[in-house]
Amino acid sequence: MTTTMHVKYMDLPRQFEGGTIVARVVEEFKRCQFVLGPQLVEFEQRFARVCGAAHAVGLNSGTDALFLALKALGVGPGDEVITVPNSFVASAGAIVMVGATPVFVDVNAEYLMDPAYLADAITPRTRAIIPVHLTGNPADLDAIGAIAVRRGLPVIEDAAQAVGAAVGGRVVGSLGIAGAFSLFPLKNLGVAGDGGMLTTGSREIADKVMLLRHHGLRNRDEVEVWGYNSRLDTIQAIVGDAVLDSLESVTAARIRNAAFYDRALAPLAPQITVPPRRAGVRQVFHTYVVQAERRDALREFLASRGVETKIHYPIPIHLQKAAEGLGYKRGAFPVCEAQSERIVSLPVHEYLTEAEQQYVVDRIREFYRR
């Protein structure tokens, strides 16, 4: 019998270990102008460069980035916005926040919006499309974009899990009219609390979101539009700027870990289905999601052997209690629903060792007796 090894799903404290980031951040805090300070502007500019976008606007959360992108585009009550049902609830929550109705389309084998279903979901009330780059894998923006252009609809990228992901060298956050990023602590690029970022190539949208995040204030005394308070704290921008230094190495480690699983788990088909790959696409693996037979038993077995796993997400949004008023039934999105019973997220974080990964693979084989 092998000794049990504890394989954590994520090892956040490691990010701040050694004290270098902590010391730098704390030093900066002493000079901090708490609200909309200069370090926020620097972080925004760097973030924009990372995404190949002209503008980045720091916000209170990734949810608010989606919400304010929709607001800036004038989406409101009576409108419909199309997204996927297998995302984190905030993708739909942001649509509800502007007063619009979320309309879902099913996903493909990559857990991404299936462009084949998109055209049928568009109605005269549709005002925007929000594909989600779930797991850190860019949605098929070529196909989705083509339909969107034909129907005159803007595409907002939900890139909350996908900073640094790219298609043919084009980075997410620069593919739609706007990109929404989360800086939640567990993200590939996370801060020490809530934070979000909106990217856009449009000066007009950037301007509008900058107004909206700051009460609509054109200057101290003049209120141009009704706004919100959704500013990224300068303190969080300081943390983000420090963490951004290691984004490339974090991403590279996650990609390497994912490749290891791919190789080691592919032979376990059909019990395990590894995530499909498209040529020319850079997935950044915020999560590494496989489909597994007898998923719940596998998770229990792995947990008993010290391996932490998660499910992103076990209940599709259209089957949540919150969605009752939207009128969807079980069976509406068969691919998403089938996946929700089979998906499991394996640890893929940047601190994972090869020994730990091998251990995870061995335990999965042990479970399936292969």
Binding site: S61, K321, A323
Partner: protein, 368 residues
């Protein structure tokens, strides 16, 4: 003599104890709704003498989520004062409703005598503001609310520890919103807010609304927002909340000294009456002044950072265009907007700075 408006440099001259705890947080990484948030909420509720306190992202969100939790939405109207910080009305719009303004009285707060006339069949809530730290006239306001079946939400963003007859603000309405913005009497190192309520139902609903409607990791009961007080900011708040009483006392002391020095300048200067049963906590020290703009320039010349809160009433802001108001609709607020001025009153002022401000205002009027 320089009299700066901001006091953050003095307040955080020694921030080592806070930084030590933040270091601890960066090492523990419990960044989201960590134990310091619950601790801060419990202490905040105690400070207010109320049952529940919910940490949220901002004071603005504290108000808009309170309205949402009470069921206010599109098609509804909410009544508030015409001369507050924009976020009060912004929160109403954020909830999907329409702000309906009411003129203010000599104390810069909503005039209860003018509220009833503004109530329509669409009115869903009253949102009085304890402006500048001065409690609104909650007796008559609550009476109107009761008679007309309207819930009252208190905008207490500027008024932590303010009271009427010893009863602290946040204990009058169904819910109250507070701001922890860096320049507030009780502040943190960025944006933050708190909702206070004594209703367990509202408390439960608000906790859902601030956290994506999540009952647990996987189940979403209602569509919500992401509007949580950062653990990091709760840590700062826990360090400062114990100072609230001392800060309030210092501000009141400075304000009373300013009162005594400025009152003799009547009628060119009008200082609002201070009622013995009301505790004004002086987030802002505001008075009305003849020839205000020149007084402001004069004070700036003397390195006194006086301000105006605010020169343009809400109904005359470009954002209000579609609400259909006109100049002349709220004569008191409009007249005050041209006459009000705010002097620094913070807890780090020295007696000679207070004296210097009084002397400077006096000189201004005696010189002409």
């Amino acid at each position: 003599m320089r009299v700066p408006y901001s006091y953050l440099r003095e307040q955080f001259a020694d921030s080592e104890p806070i930084l030590r705890d933040i270091k601890g947080l960066l090492e523990s990484t419990q960044f989201t709704l960590g134990p310091p948030v619950a601790e801060f909420e419990a202490r905040f509720a105690r400070l207010c003498g109320a049952r529940h306190a919910i940490g949220v992202g901002t004071g603005t969100d504290a108000l808009s989520l309170s309205l949402k939790a009470l069921g206010v939405g599109p098609g509804d109207e909410v009544i508030t004062a015409a001369n507050t910080f924009i976020a009060t009305a912004g929160a109403i719009v954020q909830a999907g409703a329409r702000p309906v303004f009411v003129d203010v009285a000599d104390d810069f707060n909503i005039d209860p005598g003018k509220i009833e006339a503004a109530i329509t069949s669409r009115t869903k809530a009253l949102l009085p503001v304890h402006y500048a730290g001065q409690p609104a006239k909650m007796g008559p306001i609550l009476e109107i609310g009761r008679r007309r079946g309207l819930p009252v939400v208190e905008d207490a963003c500027q008024a932590i520890s303010a009271a009427i007859d010893g009863k602290l603000v946040s204990n009058f309405g169904a819910a109250a919103g507070f701001s922890l913005h860096p320049l507030k009497n009780l502040n943190v190192w960025g944006d933050g807010g708190v909702i206070v309520t004594s209703s367990p139902e509202l408390d439960g609903k608000l906790r859902l609304l601030r956290n994506h409607g999540l009952v647990n990791r996987d189940e979403v009961e209602i569509f919500g927002h992401n509007c949580r007080l950062d653990t990091l900011q709760a840590i700062v708040g826990n360090h400062l909340i114990g100072d609230t009483e001392a800060i309030t006392a210092a501000r009141i002391k400075n304000a009373l000294a300013l009162d005594a020095g400025l009152r003799p300048l009547a009628p060119r200067v009008r200082v609002p009456a201070r009622l013995p049963n009301e505790r004004h906590v002086f987030h802002l020290y505001m008075f009305e002044a003849d020839d205000r703009d020149r007084l402001l320039a004069w004070l700036h010349q003397r390195e006194i950072e006086a301000k105006i809160h605010y020169p343009v009433p809400l109904h005359l802001q470009p954002a209000s265009r579609r609400l259909g108001y006109r100049e002349g609709d709220f004569p008191v607020a409009e007249r005050q907007a041209k006459r009000i001025i705010t002097l620094p009153v913070h807890q780090h002022l020295r007696a000679e700075q207070v004296r210097y401000m009084i002397d400077s205002v006096r000189e201004f009027y005696h010189a002409r």
